[in-house]
């Protein structure tokens, strides 16, 4: 087990528990989507995994070691586990984009050539590689460009675990597709990903498992089709349903638990052509 939370309880004040006796096991290379109502504790969960909130009770284990224990090697942990925050723009501090990305890797053994190459490659993968943008200060970027930069800063470190808090919000269509591809790609290389999102379409497309949270607890930890096919459950927990399911229900199309758009359109066309031939 790469990552494990055992009976973790986190609270900011005495009264309210933000994470309530939380248990989770994460195997290497898996993609977890985390969803649930606003205020259900998703950001707190990622921050706890990252080492920001010492739980009142319970343990967070990384490769079987408690990350909040005194003798734990925090320095190397910080390199292996990267988080992209919900409002990443509040994190920038360098004067230009390249420096911002370089910051995390400049004290490594990379030669300056390798370092430069890696920064350029990373800029390319997130679509910030045109000359005009590259010259800008991080603060001069547009909202969507800032999100891409924040992701680049995490990716360049090639983390073992990547924690993403709403990485798609405000991103345009091509940005979304680009980042979905990046995530799928690093996943095949063994990176473990935990991604918080409110978007059922995206979650259904890329997550191996979905964790549904409510009031600091896990309500469900299942594969996407099981979570999203239950209409009543989805509306009760306020997590929405993918467009393909909404449409399939309305149009009486059987998706056989494959909620991708490609499958939807194939099944719909099959059904319509069959009808025409009757």
């Amino acid at each position: 087990m790469e990552l494990e939370l055992r009976n973790v309880t986190v609270s900011y004040s005495s009264a309210e528990k933000i994470l309530d006796n939380f248990n989770l096991e994460v195997n290497k290379g898996l993609f977890f989507g985390i969803t649930g109502k606003s205020g259900s504790g998703k950001t707190t969960l990622l921050e706890t995994i990252c080492g920001f909130h010492k739980p009142e009770m319970g343990q967070v284990l990384f490769n079987n070691q408690n990350i909040y224990e005194g003798k734990f090697d925090t320095v190397s942990f910080r390199k292996k586990v990267q988080m992209v925050f919900q409002f990443p723009e509040n994190q920038f501090f360098e004067t230009d984009i390249r420096k911002e990305i370089e910051f995390g890797i400049k004290n490594t053994t990379l030669s300056s050539e390798d370092l430069n190459r890696r920064v350029t490659e990373t800029l390319q993968t997130v679509g910030l590689n045109d000359n005009e943008t590259e010259e800008l200060s991080p603060f001069a970027l547009s909202g969507g460009q800032k999100r891409r930069l924040a992701l680049a800063c995490a990716l360049v470190l090639q983390p073992e675990i990547l924690l993403l808090d709403e990485p798609f919000s405000g991103l345009d269509n091509s940005g979304q597709n680009q980042i979905i591809k990046i995530l799928q790609n690093i996943k095949t290389k063994g990176t473990t990903i935990l991604m918080v999102s409110h978007d059922p379409n995206v979650l259904c497309e890329i997550a191996d498992r979905i964790i549904v949270m409510n009031d600091g607890r896990i309500i469900k930890n299942e594969i996407p089709p099981i979570v999203y096919s239950d209409k009543q459950f989805c509306s009760q927990l306020g997590i929405g349903q993918p467009d393909t399911i909404t449409a399939a229900n309305l149009l009486d199309v059987n998706l056989n638990n494959d909620f991708t758009y490609e499958n939807f359109i194939t099944k719909l066309a099959e059904k319509l052509l069959l009808k025409n031939n009757d």
């Binding site: 900011y12 109502k37 943008t133 547009s142 808090d165 929405g240 909404t246 449409a247 149009l251 052509l273």
Partner: protein, 273 residues
């Protein structure tokens, strides 16, 4: 009738790096107008120009026929307009939510005796009742966005800008914000909306599509959002029903007309038989 009129507006942050070029548009009162375009296309820049948060060097902007660059232009515009910024952290000035909303009220010369009621009703509108005394820094992402909206709603301006104001909201929160915006429209407020989420803009009265520093098309939501080629050109998400229409066409199935919503798609498919 127009509330906001932009005439031949160009803007660049740096020498020879045009962001928008010779843009002309007018925004009607009591309507929802959405500005769509990919990341970095200049949507926030246009809003900043209208609100005089950036200097207007080329072209003219008028609000209710008042020239932005006239003597009291800026003062007039700031009084008419409210904005929910793309990053809510740019919105707040006080650490405590209630104080923050009251700060805006004082700025708008609303008598102190009314402040508590205004705060209460604004927080109710965004489902944050009871959060008056909360430190803003302790709010979750979605709560922060709702708090930012509350601060603007309290001021009751006539022209409201929402720049990605719902991007962090959960699905129900997004639906509630859409309803709230429609309600404001029904109260005859003028709304300017920016969102990458196509579901947010489907109910807009008018859409302005930007690409390559220019407005490439504008019209009703139906006209613009069913124009597949233009949307692709502008790098915008295609509405689900429009995508289905296009892909069915490729498979040799032609619907009578291009649907905009899933409900309309269903209707078209019933008509098919």
């Amino acid at each position: 009738m127009t509330v906001i009129r932009a005439s031949d507006v160009s803007f660049q942050y740096r020498e020879n790096k045009k962001i928008i070029e010779n843009i002309n548009f007018s925004i009607e009162p009591g309507k929802i107008t959405a500005i769509l375009g990919k990341n970095g296309s200049g949507k926030t820049t246009i809003i900043r120009l209208i609100l005089a948060l950036l200097p207007l060097n080329e072209g003219k902007i008028y609000i209710n026929n008042v020239d932005l660059q006239s003597k009291d232009g800026i003062k007039y515009i700031r009084k008419q307009c409210g904005i929910v910024f793309q990053n809510p952290d740019n919105q707040f000035v006080s650490p405590i939510l209630e104080d923050d909303i009251k700060f805006g009220l004082s700025n708008h010369c609303i008598p102190e005796s009314l402040h508590s009621d205004c705060v209460k009703s604004a927080l109710e509108k965004v489902n944050l009742s009871g959060f008056e005394k909360r430190k803003i820094s302790t709010l979750s992402g979605g709560q922060k966005q709702r708090a930012a909206a509350a601060g603007i709603l309290a001021l009751d301006n006539n022209i409201l800008f929402f720049d990605e104001a719902g991007s962090m909201l959960d699905p129900n929160g997004k639906i509630e914000l859409r309803k709230l915006i429609e309600k404001l429209r029904n109260q005859n407020k003028t709304i300017v909306l920016v969102s990458q989420n196509i579901d947010d803009v489907i109910t807009a009265d008018r859409i302005i599509l930007i690409s390559g520093h220019k407005i490439i098309c504008s019209g009703s939501a139906r006209e613009v959002l069913t124009d597949y080629e233009k949307l692709i050109d502008a790098g915008i998400q295609i509405p689900f029903a429009v995508r289905v229409y296009k892909d069915l066409l490729q498979k040799g199935i032609k619907l009578k007309k291009c649907p905009l919503t899933i409900d309309e798609l269903a209707e078209e498919l019933w008509n098919l038989n």
